[in-house]
């Protein structure tokens, strides 16, 4: 497979990066680890004439317990004992991204902004041409939900659900300066598989920050996929909670791999806070989330199955995080 020609820019400072982004507006992609972007470019999926590589920006590689640079490689996180024990859901999510070879290059920022995926999009040019292409690349209609307005491609990152339940924020840099927003606000609820995040033109992720409170929660991440290596999530469930004895003091559940953006389900989980640990409670939380998720048939496993598994994965995650005493029932 060949890549169409592009110009490669490797700025050494944030200022230089932003100036390039302004100059090349609309005609470039940022390049982080390249494990997803270059694969998509080989398939001729929305390739741009310019790439701005972020590999020379040293501040984006910094890694502390409360702040992880966007260009930190997943393999570095995988080996960081302090981060692993502070944020189990994050460690479990990182461990399950693709393969060790991909994680050796793939980055935190790249996983948070990984392109949405769809059975009708992630195909060769020849394959897509035979169907007249699709809304997300080169065409004007969706083959999943036939219409011409909305793209249903699925958000397929593993880190986002884990970081959502840990109350992560993201630092964003762009032509208008630096800003910090909750991770949940990065994703566009009103968008679709194409308009998938709320970054302004030219903006890029600089870092993820994690509050001290996140280190006092127990958390876990579970991933549904056909093969236990490489596959993108058919479903990702992250749960974080804090118990006072056997009473639930805090609960957050987030899902990925189901819709066009990862979602945290605070309105569903709020009524359960204050309840005592019991298998009844765990079942109820799973059952309450299941009817809210809206997968479509654009990945390998059918939507009904992914909904059933959402309920089961939430229940099992809660069982795993149950306080060691008093959780029977």
């Amino acid at each position: 497979m060949h890549l169409d020609p592009f110009e490669l820019h490797r700025p050494a400072t944030v200022e230089e990066t932003v100036a390039l982004a302004r100059e090349l507006a609309g005609r470039f992609d940022y390049l982080a680890g390249g494990t997803d972007l270059l694969a998509n470019y080989k398939m001729h999926l929305n390739a741009k004439p310019h790439l701005i590589a972020l590999d020379r920006l040293a501040p984006l590689r910094e890694r502390r317990l409360d702040r992880i640079g966007a260009m930190v490689r997943l393999a570095e996180l995988e080996r960081d004992g302090a981060i692993r024990s502070a944020y189990p859901a994050l460690a479990e999510a990182v461990d399950q991204v693709a393969t060790p070879l991909v994680r050796a290059s793939a980055t935190v920022g790249g996983n948070l902004l990984v392109d949405t995926r769809c059975f009708f999009f992630n195909q060769s040019y020849f394959w897509r041409a035979s169907l007249g292409f699709c809304l997300k690349a080169d065409g004007d209609r969706c083959h999943v939900v036939p219409q011409k307005e909305r793209c249903y491609a699925t958000f397929s990152g593993d880190l986002a659900p884990a970081l959502l339940v840990l109350d992560a924020e993201v630092e964003i840099v762009g032509p208008d300066g630096r800003r910090r927003i909750p991770l949940a606000s990065l994703y566009d609820e009103g968008g679709d598989g194409i308009r998938r995040h709320r970054l302004a033109p030219g903006e890029f992720l600089a870092a993820v920050t994690l509050p001290e409170a996140a280190r006092r929660r127990s958390s876990t991440y579970a991933k549904l996929r056909v093969r236990p290596s490489f596959d993108f999530p058919e479903l990702g469930v992250a749960v974080a909670c804090r118990w006072a004895g056997d009473r639930l003091e805090h609960l957050a559940v987030a899902t990925g791999g189901l819709e066009t953006y990862p979602r945290r389900w605070d309105d569903v989980t709020a009524p359960f806070v204050g309840r005592r640990a019991s298998s009844e409670l765990f079942r109820e939380v799973g059952a309450a989330i299941r009817p809210r998720v809206r997968p479509v048939h654009n990945t390998f496993l059918p939507p009904d199955y992914r909904k059933q598994m959402t309920e089961l994965f939430v229940r099992r995650a809660l069982e795993r995080l149950a306080p060691t005493s008093g959780a029977a029932g």
């Binding site: 693709a98 290059s105 236990p228 290596s229």
Partner: protein, 159 residues
């Protein structure tokens, strides 16, 4: 070639200088320009691990690596790991354990194994399985591959 530049990097212990456009992929350069065909083109999309090389000692998918981004780095391919008259201990273990069938995936497995044993000279079986989980063998000869890496580890085969 528009945008082509002279790029210098280390290759199997020797400095090389090549002319490559920005979109040139390391695997294509190795195989098609430099005639080092030990690194294999399998899926060409990062799924199969047949193209694995070491960049600054780190296992890297050469099919998803731009030549311009290895400027100034040290690239090691399967051609570079043995000494002139002797196989690398991991290669020797693969031979002794029959850990190759068609042989197409073997260079990638060996480089993943070399990187693992350098970082963790005495891995558990589970750690070995995990370390090679990005390398696919269509002949499905995984058991012998794992046994070969265990044997190389016992023989102190980080190389």
């Amino acid at each position: 070639m528009p945008g082509a530049r002279r790029i210098r990097f280390g290759l199997n212990g020797h400095p090389v200088e090549v002319t490559a456009p920005p979109e040139r992929i390391l695997l294509d350069l190795l195989r098609d320009d430099l005639r080092l065909t030990g690194s294999k083109r399998g899926c060409d999309l990062g799924t199969c691990g047949c193209c694995t090389v070491l960049v600054d000692g780190r296992p890297t998918l050469s099919c998803l690596t731009l030549v311009h981004l290895v400027e100034g780095r040290e690239v090691m391919t399967i051609e570079g790991i043995a000494s002139p008259h002797e196989l690398h201990p991991v290669q020797r273990a693969f031979v002794e354990h029959g850990a190759t069938q068609c042989g197409f995936c073997t260079p990638g497995f060996i480089l993943s194994a070399v990187a693992l044993l350098r970082e963790n000279p005495q891995p558990t079986r589970a750690q070995i399985v995990r370390a090679i989980s990005g390398n696919l063998c269509r002949c499905t000869g995984y058991t012998k591959i794992v046994e070969a890496i265990e044997a190389a580890s016992r023989a102190g085969g980080a190389g």
